[in-house]
Amino acid sequence: MSDTAWMTASEIAAAVAAKKVSARAVVEAALARIADRNPVLNAFTDITAARALARADEVDAGRGSGPLAGVPFAVKNLFDVEGLPTRAGSAINRERAPAARDAALVRRLEEAGAILVGALNMGEYAYDFTGENRHDGPSRNPHDTTRMSGGSSGGSGSAVAGGLVPLALGSDTNGSIRVPASLCGLFGLKPTFGRLPRTGSFPFVSSLDHLGPLARSVGDLALSYDAMQGPDEEDPMCADRPSVPVLPGLEQGIAGLRIARAGGYFRTNLMPESAAAVEKVAAALGVAREVELPEAARARAAAFLITTTEAAALHLERLRARAGDFDPDVRDRLIAGAMVPAAMVGRAQKFRRWYRDAVLRLFGEVDAILAPATPSSAPLLGQKTFVLDGVELPVRANLGIFTQPISFIGLPVVAVPVAGALPVAVQVITAPWREDVALRIARHLEATGVALAQRPA
C-alpha cells in the first residue's frame, strides 16, 4: 500500500474488500494527493472531503460495499453533486441553486461502493476541446504542465493521469472524453448513445451528449461501466435496454474478431505521433484491411452544425441577457450558432440518418474500426493554431476532427493510449451496443503492452 497513487480502482477495491487497507485510508491518501498536486494541475474545482470521509467510514463499517468499495472518484463539474451548484465550467451557473441530489451515475457508482471526492474543471458548457477555462484557469496535462489536458473533460483527464484518483467521469458530445484521454494518455470509454443515463447532468447538445469513464486501465473502465449501465426513465434518450455486463468477457482476447482501420479522411491531417500510434496498434492487431467511412468530412460538418445550433438554443436566454458573462471563446460561437438558418440544420439531421445507415453497413463486414483519436499529442496551453498537412488550422476546433464523425452517430468507442514522449490515443470503434468488443480489444492491447496509461515522469 506504499504507492496508492497509481493503483487501479480494481486493485483498491480488492484491497479494501480484503481489509488490507481501510476506505478511510484510501480516501485520506487521495485527498492528500489532491491537496499536494491540484494547485499545479488545477483539475479539481470542488473537493468534497467531509462527504467522502463520512462515506469511507460507512464503507469501513460494512455498509455500502460493492465491486467498487472504497474507490475514490471524481466527476466533471457538469454532473450534479448534492449541495453544489452545477457550474458546467461557467461563471453564470454558479448562481444556480445547489443540486438537491446527485446525478444518476454518481448514485450508481456510490451504490457500488465508490466514493466521490470532488468535481472537476472543464471547458465552459462543454463547448471545448482544449481544457482551457477563462473562469477557473486551465486544467493542466500531468505529462507536461505547460500543455493542454484536452477538453472539454480536461479536469477528468488531468486528475486521473496525475494520479489524484483512479477513476473520473466525463461527458462526450463531439470528443470530450476521447480528446483528454488522448492528450493525457488514458483509457476512455464513450459508450453507445443512450447507453448511460444523463439524468442530473447539465446538457450541451441533447441529441449528441454521452457520459462515460476515464481510467488508467481497461478493467477499471469495464468495472465502472458495468456499475453504471441500465435504463433510467428520467433521461428520455436513455435506451430501454437491459444491462450487458462487459467484465466477464473482458479477457476473451481478439480471436475471431475482424478488425479494420479507417482510411481516407482518417489518414489525413495527422501529426507523426498520431500516425505512428495508429500504425503501432494496427500492426499489433494484425490489421490488414482498410475501410472507408463514407462522407466522414461531411459528417463532421453536420455534427458541428447540430452542436452549434442546439447549444445556441439551450443558451439563448443567457446570450440575450448576459452574453458578457460567458467565456469569450464559447460566447462567440454560440452567438454565431443562433444565426444558422433552421433549414440547414434540418438537412444535417437527415444526413445524420443517411450516414448512420452507411456506416452500419460496414459493421456487417468488420467488428471494429481503428482511427486516430486526435491529430496530435497535447498542444501547449494557449496555443491557437497548429499545422496539419501544411495548412495552419485552429487548435480548438480541430482537435476533434477524428472524434466528431463517430459520436455523430453514437457509436461506442474506447480510446486506447499509446505511450511516448507525450502520449496519444487511438479510437477502437464498434457497432452500437458492442462496448464489449471494443473493451476486449483494448484489454488485449493493454495485456500485450501495446497500450499503456504511462505514469508521468
Binding site: E295, P328, D332, M344
Partner: protein, 60 residues
C-alpha cells in the same frame, strides 16, 4: 455571400434574436458565423431523397 452581405445578415439576425453584439466581439462572431455557414453549405450540398428521415425519433 459577400463580406457586406454577411455583415448585414449578422446584424439582422442579432436583431431578430435579441442579442446585442459588443463591438469587440464582432470579428469573432462573424468569423464563427462564416465557418458555420460553410459547414452548413457542405451538408446541404449532399443530395438526399425527399423521403429521407431525420435522425431523432420521438416516442410519444
Amino acid at each position: 455571400m459577400t463580406e457586406a452581405e454577411l455583415e448585414a445578415y449578422m446584424d439582422a439576425s442579432a436583431a431578430v434574436l435579441g442579442i446585442a453584439i459588443a463591438p469587440e466581439w464582432r470579428d469573432a462572431v462573424r468569423a464563427n458565423l462564416a465557418l458555420s455557414l460553410r459547414m452548413a453549405a457542405t451538408v446541404a450540398a449532399f443530395p438526399l431523397e425527399d423521403e429521407a428521415e431525420p435522425a431523432p425519433v420521438f416516442t410519444p
